[in-house]
């Protein structure tokens, strides 16, 4: 009646910004989601997709700009539904009971029967022939079945009607047949006037269902077209950006005139999954976060180091990225944190050689530039970047010929990064081998050889000049249709 526009948007974002402290997660986005369309949302890790989802569904409030919607947004009874990639059901409840939690009007006697009927109807609609027991506790079901229940809860009426369903990597744990059922349902749902935001790293799926594709990068929408306006290459191009200016390890090494780690040097690591590394080589593990890189490193590291006794000459050293979880010992001094890895080697008759420990501490403080007057201070007195340097020193001070690094530059400032790159390069030239998992393309470009992971498997091996953002992105995203 009162709107002159032909179609009113389900949700419209105008000039939306979102900041977390100093970090700009969303940096000015205008986006309107119309009824009946399926919007494919793509972008690399940290492009701001999750934040955008949480702004659209009302979980987060924008720092600036406005979000309009004529449907119920946020709270119970929301017509905007989100299905998240990480499983977010209550594992101790049944499917029907999980529906109850998200259902505002399921009350009174007999609610179990009605909940069971509603979730079964929804499951039957999306995944015909699913065979899921809706009264079984969710933790007794397979991961795929849990994901199916989550999707079914997203599409269920829940006392109203789903108007916009946001699917964040919904097919990551579904097999091809079930994923196809979901895609078909998304098409049906949109044909009936519903709206879907579809986030996936399977570009084939995006092209299959999306009527429009939105590409995000650094919290901004960098490209937005009808899906017919993209082909695979142009889409990957649109996602990529970083560091064309940053020289790769290979180029830099040529520029510096030092010898590359040639094929001649011996292979020191080789595992069944195809991961390998030669002496003096910096090997990168790339791909989207959570695709098995950290697991591959952990497997390799534990296989190489587990034992009852700490050997005097360790085979591998580890640099943690998640400092709080598996790096820093927060109650210890800087020096104790640093010398941890060399204690067995520096011990005399079972006792720590304090003088040698202090000398080692001073040496590494100078080499790696730890900014503190006194290494006896607690490690927590240092900034995050300096704590990370201590962890690097811990690994490098050991005699281990192999250093495993699990995204070690998280939260490290640019200056420190450059210092550490140089240090790693120098150590590699001296014959050490580095295995380096990173989510940042710039860091991966420092490597001599890169393995790209997808769905827990190696999807590509790149070396030398092949290492580029485009190639890594292309290998990170699924190319074939199913």
């Amino acid at each position: 009646m009162n709107t002159p526009q032909p179609v009113e948007a389900v949700v419209a974002l105008r000039g939306v910004h979102k900041q977390f402290g100093a970090v700009r997660a969303i940096d000015g986005i205008d986006l309107a989601l119309a009824p009946g369309e399926c919007v494919g949302l793509v972008g690399h890790n940290g492009a701001g997709k999750s934040t955008l989802v949480n702004l659209i569904n009302g979980t987060l409030k924008p720092s600036q700009g406005e979000i309009d919607s004529h449907v119920t947004r946020g709270g119970r009874g929301s017509a905007i539904r989100s299905v998240f990639q990480e499983l977010s059901l209550c594992p101790n409840l049944s499917a029907a009971e999980n529906l109850r939690i998200a259902h505002p009007t399921l009350k009174g006697l007999g609610w179990r029967r009605r909940a069971g009927a509603e979730i079964r109807t929804s499951l039957d609609q999306v995944f015909p022939g699913h065979g899921i027991d809706t009264d079984a506790r969710v933790d007794t079901l397979s991961i795929a079945q849990r994901q199916m229940i989550e999707i079914a809860i997203g599409f269920a009426p829940r006392g109203g009607q789903a108007r916009l369903v946001i699917l964040d990597e919904p097919t990551s744990s579904l097999d091809a047949g079930i994923a196809e059922q979901l895609l078909a349902h998304v098409e049906r749902f949109c044909a009936e006037g519903g709206t879907v935001v579809f986030i996936s790293h399977m570009l084939g799926e995006i092209f299959r269902v999306a009527s429009r594709i939105v590409v995000m990068q650094d919290g901004r929408v960098v490209a937005e077209r009808e899906s017919a306006g993209f082909d695979r290459d142009s889409l990957v191009d649109a996602m990529g950006h970083v560091a064309q200016h940053a020289p790769s390890g290979e180029q830099r090494r040529h520029a510096e005139g030092s010898a590359p780690a040639g094929a001649a040097s011996e292979t020191v690591i080789e595992d069944a999954a195809g991961l390998s590394a030669r002496r003096g080589e910096i090997v990168g593990l790339a791909g989207l976060a959570g695709h098995g890189q950290a697991e591959a490193l952990a497997k390799l590291y534990f296989a190489g180091t587990s034992g009852w006794r700490a050997p005097r000459k360790p085979r591998m050293a580890f640099v943690a990225g998640d400092r709080g979880r598996d790096g820093v010992l927060p109650l210890w001094s800087i020096l104790r944190n640093l010398s941890l890895s060399v204690l067995p080697a520096g011990a005399r008759r079972g006792a720590v050689d304090r003088r040698a420990e202090a000398t080692l501490g001073r040496e590494w403080q100078q080499r790696i530039g730890i900014r503190s007057d006194d290494l006896g201070n607690p490690i927590t007195s240092l900034s995050g970047g300096n704590q990370q340097k201590v962890l690097f020193a811990r690994a490098l001070a050991s005699s281990a010929p192999i250093v495993v690094m699990d995204d070690p530059m998280r939260g490290v400032d640019v200056g420190t990064k450059q210092e550490v790159y140089a240090l790693i390069r120098a150590e590699a030239d001296a014959g050490r081998t580095f295995l380096w998992y990173s989510t940042e393309t710039e860091e991966v470009c420092q490597c001599d050889r890169v393995f790209v992971f997808r769905d827990g498997k190696i999807s590509a091996e790149l070396s030398g000049a092949e290492i580029s953002e485009e190639r890594i992105l292309a290998a990170s995203f699924e190319m074939q249709e199913n």
């Binding site: 979980t59 946020g74 709270g75 119970r76 009874g77 929301s78 989100s82 977010s88 059901l89 209550c90 594992p91 101790n92 409840l93 009971e97 999980n98 109850r100 939690i101 998200a102 505002p104 399921l106 009350k107 609610w111 179990r112 027991d133 009264d135 079984a136 506790r137 007794t140």
Partner: protein, 310 residues
């Protein structure tokens, strides 16, 4: 019920209870009578109620170390204030429930460790109890005494009460809608928050309900003992935790069983009686309860392993 509820692991609380009960009957067949059963389980009623209170807290991944002190305080109020000034007494009990609810909201709002907060609160409850009742004594309100000594036909009061507690707790926690949401809180609180629930309110409700069961425990305790003291229920803290775990509950993940917890409380008190029938000094009672707990947990671990292998 679905076929999932009949795994041997779920039947374990019933099995361990039956084993102890049969052993008791074998040693002392006079226990197998209306009067004997009542004597055997009489004093378990308040423990069972306190165990349900503890179960609610464990269900949301917290733990309550103040149950014993809280029930003692309630007992002191019931045996003095409630007798002399009933209105004031009820008001005080309602205030205690609200305090529990506020505690739950506080623990969640500021992300405090429940184990520390409730440990601290146990000293506050204990101190208040001492102020109200410096020395043991007091009396039971007439109606309460009458209620606890009623002799129902067929089964003695202790058994009827245990069945009632188990049924009511099962309905509230396992079957009702809000109970389901509260269990979801223990399973994945983020998912509950995403569905649009206010978590502080839910935590307050959980703790408030636990407070209600604590008050009921204190009431029944005075009805049975007809007197009280500032530390009359101090053993309830550990007994209630042991009861929840014996009953198949887990500390993390919202996996609890109210029926199992009542059985767990009964099993623990049986373990004590069994020793008495075997003419073993009561000094060993706590140790025996511990041994039963370890045995049942070991059996549960075996079942869990086997289920995981299947």
């Amino acid at each position: 019920m679905t076929r999932h509820s009949i795994s041997p692991r779920k039947l374990l609380p019933l099995i361990s209870f039956s084993v102890l009960l049969i052993a008791t009957f074998a040693l002392q067949e006079r226990a197998m009578s209306y009067l004997g059963l009542n004597l055997l389980f009489n004093l378990t009623i308040p423990i069972a109620l306190a165990t349900i209170g503890q179960l609610l807290i464990i269900m949301v991944n917290d733990i309550d170390l103040s149950v014993g002190a809280f029930v003692s305080l309630v007992a002191c109020i019931v045996s003095t204030l409630l007798v002399q000034h009933p209105w004031l007494g009820w008001l005080a009990l309602a205030g205690l429930v609200l305090a529990y609810a506020a505690l739950g909201a506080l623990i969640h709002r500021f992300d405090l460790p429940a184990i520390v907060v409730t440990l601290g609160m146990s000293f506050i409850w204990g101190g208040l109890a001492l102020v109200i009742m410096p020395a043991p004594g007091g009396t039971s309100p007439e109606w309460l005494r009458a209620l606890m000594t009623v002799k129902p036909p067929l089964a003695p009061m202790a058994v009827v009460a245990a069945l009632l507690i188990a049924a009511a707790a099962h309905l509230l926690i396992m079957r009702s809608g809000i109970g389901t949401v509260l269990r979801g809180l223990g399973g994945n609180s983020r998912s509950v928050a995403r569905a649009g629930w206010r978590l502080s309110g839910l935590y307050a409700l959980t703790y408030g309900l636990a407070g209600v069961f604590g008050v009921l425990a204190g009431l029944t305790l005075v009805g049975l003992y007809t007197s009280s003291g500032a530390s009359v229920a101090s053993s309830y803290t550990l007994l209630s935790i042991a009861g929840v775990i014996l009953g198949g509950g887990e500390f993390i993940g919202g996996r609890v069983s109210p029926i199992g917890a009542v059985l767990g409380a009964l099993t623990l008190s049986l373990a004590g009686s069994l020793l008495a029938f075997m003419h073993i000094s009561p000094d060993w009672q706590i140790g025996a309860q511990g041994a039963v707990l370890i045995l049942v947990l070991a059996a549960r671990l075996l079942f869990t392993r086997r289920e995981a292998l299947l």
